[in-house]
Symmetry: C2
Subunit: 235 residues, 2 copies
Amino acid sequence: MEVKYKQIAEIIESNILVGKYNDTKKLPTEEELMKEFDVSRNTIRKAIGTLVDRGHIYQVQGSGIFIREISKEGCINLGRIKGLTGETTLNNIVTKMLELKIVKADEELAKKMKCDLGTNLYFVKRLRYVDNVAFTIECSYYNKDIIPYLNQEIIEKSIYDYITNDLKFNIGFADKMIYSDKLEADEAELLCLNEGDPSLIIEDTVFLTNGYIFDISKVTYNYKNAKLLSLANFK
Amino acid sequence: MEVKYKQIAEIIESNILVGKYNDTKKLPTEEELMKEFDVSRNTIRKAIGTLVDRGHIYQVQGSGIFIREISKEGCINLGRIKGLTGETTLNNIVTKMLELKIVKADEELAKKMKCDLGTNLYFVKRLRYVDNVAFTIECSYYNKDIIPYLNQEIIEKSIYDYITNDLKFNIGFADKMIYSDKLEADEAELLCLNEGDPSLIIEDTVFLTNGYIFDISKVTYNYKNAKLLSLANFK
DNA sequence: AAGTGGTCTAGACCACCGT
DNA sequence: CGGTGGTCTAGACCACTTC
């Protein structure tokens, strides 16, 4: 995070979040930002581009840089997922580990995780509560060649923090497939819902920056509480 | 589309799609691409960045540019929505108009569309079939100050084509809220499902490049067929 | 050590918006 | 027409991967 454009993006982002530009709904011009941060135009544009991607602002040629207001109360932003615990809009998250074991990759898993048949994988099943309501059931596989160790303490805190802060890995990108289905009886019981009720499901494939898949997950959301947010830019 | 980096992005994208790099799963280096297209490094990087955003490739510092393979058969890509008709993975789409009328924006609509109270809005209700199966119910409002005219023919072809090709507007970005719920009786009948069955719902807010909202929609998907795809980059 | 992508600079010209 | 963002260039140095 020591590079200039990221630092500048963080500063401007926090300015936006504390409402610094709320009177005009407009940011300073690129020219003004160049002077403010004493960097070249490309560096400012890289910082601005980051915030456009994150959905905070949009640019209009010939006119300026504007605040993009999103009604996102309680929504889970699909574009910025560091796991549920990274969601700033959610408070009071409690994770209960239901299962933790090591399995060998069968044909299907090996294909999904692009690893060799028989690779050791951690299987983790978790139930997560938000504000004391059952919110998700998460079934995950982690490649043990990449994540060599896991225990209950790590799992009930944040696996993502462990991977980035302790193991020093960089998470790069993710595919998310989203669909809806009827709840099975056992899932319904965990979520305090009824069999056959709707469920919102995300199947995740998460890559490190080097392209290795370290995690695939199936997350079943409580349909009464979960709202997802996806931001699209047409470029 | 006359700018260099977009042209280059299109060429490389079509190269990827026809499998030109499938032997190595790797693109030429930035250096080689600079020579191939006779442009500066920044221009190549801008083109490459476009394809990274679209989920086609990923870059690894010190190593190269790699093909990102996504199992996306039949999935609707949330990041590149030009309406259903723009989905290259879906064939044989038939649209049936159920309702078309002009309404005045009430308080809720005015707030959602950031327009004045009483603004004229087109309300459109459509049922869409993919491969002869009922796929979505779409309820949309269009700001008549921006889209001055609509008729059944336009609606049953592609409103997005009409807006971009005929009206020459540029669609800029969109917010999409995704959730699941139980189907009401009338919705269930349209989708040939049962009351209380799951539904996958997207509430869309679509902006022009100048930040004006021209469309909000609520799209109810048939849960048996619809799978959405969201691609995340951690930047 | 060589190869390859990541960051940054300085400057030029174009396209679009609003007065 | 002035202000502002969009595209493009040429070159420098750094960080990471690979051998």
